[in-house]
Amino acid sequence: MKRARIAWAGAVHDAIEADGQLELLTPAFKGRRVTFDEVVWLPPLAPVDRARTVLALGLNYADHAKELDFKAPEEPLAFVKGESSLIGHRAFTVRPDNVQFMHYECELAVVIGKPAKRVKKADALQYVAGYTVANDYAIRDYLENWYRPNLKVKNRDTCTPIGPWLVDAADVADPMNLALTTTVNGQLTQQGNTKDMIFDVPTLIEYFSGFMTLMPGDLILTGTPDGVVDCQPGDVIVTSIEHIGELMNTITAAPKAA
């Protein structure tokens, strides 16, 4: 099942995909269908009762590590993001003025389904609720070598589109064999496959849960392959993962100072 979280008619609703439409789960409107264009798409994540842990990976595809002039890491290069950087499908992401290189990163996002502590690789996928698509934008102008990648690069407001769907894990036969693509204004710019991850999803769950308990709703953004290019205001970026979804985002300029 493909699950969405949307704003429609003055309220937030959970919905599922049905015949190319959204079927609302809200009791008052249960079964009612609305079109994709009628709604505001929110991150496809249920609220959690504590701060959501958003883990992200750098250099987790061999080709991207090479592109960025680094040796492949010997252990996962992990960093943490705040939930406030998340934004839904069809949203605007702000490009600051006077930067030279702002790029998308198409990533398979894993949503944890049950508390995970010291989970073994062989059991790890049982702890996954589902998968979605994340676009983990980076602004390389702000990169510094202190806890790199630093938060000014990776934790900006509007800079982590995610969605449109949370696809149930049961519906994803092999998360480690999914094609990823990104287009900019319809032109293909990034291509890869989750089978080329350096640290695959079960390995990442084993690694993180070895020192931190992951909770339902926590996220792991698993890194991006080769092929990142600069994005300018007005550009429409579609990050897609086979069987998971097509996440659309539009770059917009920063508001002018009053």
Binding site: S84, L151, N155
Partner: protein
């Protein structure tokens, strides 16, 4: 006067920590800042996140993982975001980390271990502390097993509370319930106070209830 009982504070939003925000540690690092892998002094605030699995209420024990004999313990003051991007209150924290020498790569495995953030009993209204400017006179004491180990003076910040708050909000909005910790100071030799299993760490400051956490070995 009877004060009504309130439930213990626990952070409701994301908790950010700040690296290298005390003058002493910044000065100790300065000679190395232009060397590889850093190559330049930090410009933006250097931040990290303490994930929710680290939160340990005052009075509760913090477990050391297997094969970790000692951890850094650090007194820090966290600013809690209210409505409209303003600071609403402040909280004492015991910011625990596995000691690490390099500040090049993110510190997730050193800082986000289960239980590694002792959280003060109450979020104290900023007004009761003299506002953001009043924080400059706040002094925090850290004791291990009742013995004084460190005095942390917020007058010694590189970016004071108001400056750090503004510089961080310039690129990531701190939302209602998010917390920004102002940083942790080092000892004169650059290290931090340590705790091992069996120790009790107290963090004290005027206007706050003491934050106390015992350290224990991890249950096998």
């Amino acid at each position: 006067m009877n004060t009504p009982w309130t439930p213990p504070y626990l952070p409701q939003g994301t908790v950010y920590g700040t690296l290298l925000n005390f003058r002493r540690e910044h000065a100790l690092w300065a000679p190395r800042m232009n060397e590889a892998p850093y190559k330049a002094p930090p410009q933006a605030p250097v931040l990290y996140i303490k994930t929710a699995n680290t939160f340990t209420p005052s009075g509760h024990a913090i477990a050391l993982p297997h094969q970790v004999a000692e951890v850094d313990v650090s007194a820090s003051l966290g600013l809690v975001a209210g409505e409209g991007g303003r600071v609403a209150s402040a909280v004492l924290f015991n910011n625990v980390a596995i000691p690490h020498e390099s500040y090049f790569r993110p510190s997730v495995k050193f800082r986000c271990v289960d239980g590694f953030l002792g959280v003060g009993r109450d979020a104290v209204a900023l007004d009761a502390l003299g506002g953001l400017d009043g924080l400059a006179s706040l002094v925090i004491e850290l004791r291990v097993n009742g013995v004084h180990r460190q005095t942390v003076a917020l007058a010694d910040l590189v970016r004071d509370a108001a400056t750090l708050w503004a510089d961080v909000n310039a690129f990531q909005t701190l939302r209602l319930g998010d917390v920004l910790m102002l940083g942790t100071d080092c000892l004169p030799d650059g290290s931090r106070p340590r705790a091992k299993a069996g120790d009790a760490v107290e963090i004290l400051a005027t206007g706050f209830k003491p934050l106390v956490n015992a350290f224990v070995g991890e249950a096998s």
